[in-house]
């Protein structure tokens, strides 16, 4: 079993391993034919598996160990990124990375949640779970963006805000609430992209946006499937069932009008073709930025207000 692949990807993994083994044999002619055949077989198989993914499988892809994280995009999607640190009050939270960068030559304020791949990195970035100082850093940078008229671009990828003692002591709730409060009328365009996992309030705290995008196999939810299962079923192993109930995929959310744009992923997901994913994201961001920067601030703010007030379904 290949640990870099999820259970439903294993048939693909086997084929890919065969192809790799063949490529490593330094014997010419017939092998090319054979590898080509295997490659097309792998493509067909991937297409087949990915044409009918369950919401739980998509949730797993959103948290795939080989999926790209914020810092994997920063130098390919943007240019001249200068990281800016700290909340000016308590500390610098690594789970949120922020700074000034250029997108297609245009300066922007970038803010993104970072998970970390190795154990050491995971600890450094706290598994992508921000503390209050992370949200306060993000807010400081957004206010700076407003001051210098820079569009804000945020990447969401977090299991949620960190539920720790210190985080509670320093006002995790207030930090999230303050961001929602300020972002709702921040006088500069905000574009947010869920690149992996959009974990509840911890995600929303940098996700009040004029344009809300999601990568195809990312998720965005009020509670994790595991959290939902443990509350409603008293059983974490029912996460797969909870994932289906929560309607947390990009397709469901687009249909419900809760997000604006789905960015397609390469066949088999981002991890199968990182450079293609990077260019797809870059193209989507440039396109949106060029549209949004033409809108006057006043129109932008009233549209944002209307959008926020429109969220919700009820009967009067």
């Amino acid at each position: 079993m290949n640990l870099d692949y999820l259970d439903f990807e294993q048939p693909i993994a086997e084929l890919e391993d065969k192809i790799e083994a063949l490529c490593n044999i330094k014997n010419k002619a017939d092998i090319t034919q054979e590898t080509d055949a295997l490659k097309s077989k792998s493509t067909v198989l991937t297409k087949k598996i990915f044409s009918s993914l369950s919401d739980w499988q998509i949730s797993q892809l959103a948290r795939h160990p080989k999926r790209l994280y914020t810092l994997d995009y920063i130098n390919t999607v943007f240019e001249e990124f200068t990281e800016l640190h700290g909340d000016r009050a308590y500390g610098d939270d690594h789970a949120i990375v922020g700074g000034i960068a250029k997108l297609d030559g245009q300066p922007v304020m970038f803010i993104g949640q970072q998970k970390g791949r190795s154990t050491q990195e995971k600890l450094k970035y706290n598994f992508g779970m921000p503390r209050p100082e992370g949200y306060r850093k993000a807010l400081r940078l957004m206010k700076m963006a407003e001051k210098f008229n820079l569009p804000v671009i945020t990447f969401i990828d977090t299991p949620g805000a960190y539920p720790g003692i210190g985080a509670e002591e320093r006002g995790q709730s207030e930090a999230i609430a303050r961001n929602l409060f300020e972002m709702s009328t921040l006088a500069t365009p905000i574009i947010s992209v869920v690149i992996g996992e959009g974990g509840s309030g911890g995600a929303l705290a940098i996700g009040v946006a004029d344009t809300m995008m999601m990568f195809q196999y990312s998720i965005y939810s009020v509670i994790s499937p595991e959290g939902c299962a443990s509350i409603l079923y008293k059983d974490v192993s029912k996460a797969n069932i909870a994932a289906e109930s929560l309607k947390l995929t990009s397709t469901h959310l687009k249909k419900a009008g809760l997000i604006d744009i789905i960015i397609d992923e390469p066949l088999g997901g981002i991890h199968r073709d990182p450079s293609k994913a990077q260019s797809l994201l870059k193209a989507a961001l440039i396109k949106e930025l060029n549209i949004i920067k033409k809108i006057s601030t006043q129109d932008l703010l009233s549209a944002r207000q209307e959008k926020l007030l429109g969220f919700g379904q009820f009967k009067d």
Binding site: A161, Y162, P163, G164, I165, A167, E168, E169, R170, G171, Q172, S173, E174, I176, A177, R178, L180, F181, E182, M183, S184, T185, S200, G201, L204, A205, V208, Y220, S221, V222, I223, C228, I231, L232, Y233, I241, A242, S245, L246, K247, L248, L253, A256, L258, Q305, L308, L309, F311, G312, Q313, F314, K315, D316
Partner: protein, 282 residues
Amino acid sequence: MSWLEKILPSITNVVKKNIPEGLWSKCPKCDSTIYTEELQEATYVCPKCDYHMRISARVRIDSFLDKEGQEEIAPNLVAVDPLKFKDQKKYKDRYLQAQKDTNEKDALVVKKGTLNGLPVIVAAFEFKFMGGSMGSVVGEKFVRAAQESIKTKAPLICFSASGGARMQEGLFSLMQMSKTSLMVKLLSNQKIPFISVLTDPTMGGVSASFAMLGDVHIAEPNALIGFAGPRVVEQTVREELPEGFQRSEFLLEKGAIDLIVHRHELRQQVHTLLSAMTFNNG
């Protein structure tokens, strides 16, 4: 849930009908037996140990506003089950059951009225309605409350008691956080006071949105207030939580709230604050 909480609504009913079973209540904190009518008069604060019991949205509002001139805002809003959500029970069935149990349409009640003659808008959570969880209806009712505040220039007071966002409405619920926070921002832009009263318990998506955005944060004594529930925090950090963690007194010490006010002093305290806050702006 303690047995007392389970029977609280029935106590309220039976006492009126003079049926003997509800005559006596027990304080969940000090175990004292209290004459129910005395407890009601004390707005469910234990006369022996001062423990503040959870109270319904209606009892809360009735004990806070002046008796005359109350008018309910958006009383008929109901949920629509946008996800067709189902776990072991359908959301629809849970919802109808909650309506039956609480005699409320959803988890937030909004009224306009006066406080010692000062016009105010009051919103109060019904914790017994699915844990006071915030879905589309709660969010929209909060919006209507704030809009009425803006329209009439009357200060807004919200009594929170909630476990957080209502997961049965998925991301719609999460979006109520930004929707309600926007309204607090608009209130703030108009310089209309918003007083957030945090009662037991105020957690998750409610505490991480409008409840923590008041001009003044008042908590009732010993209320549980925080982002993540204590059990989740304990499982995450794998150590024992400090004494009084996430209680009002703890939050006061950490600088998250302005003051702790006894339930019997709330009317007077809020009025004193609002009189000053609107004195030069009214």
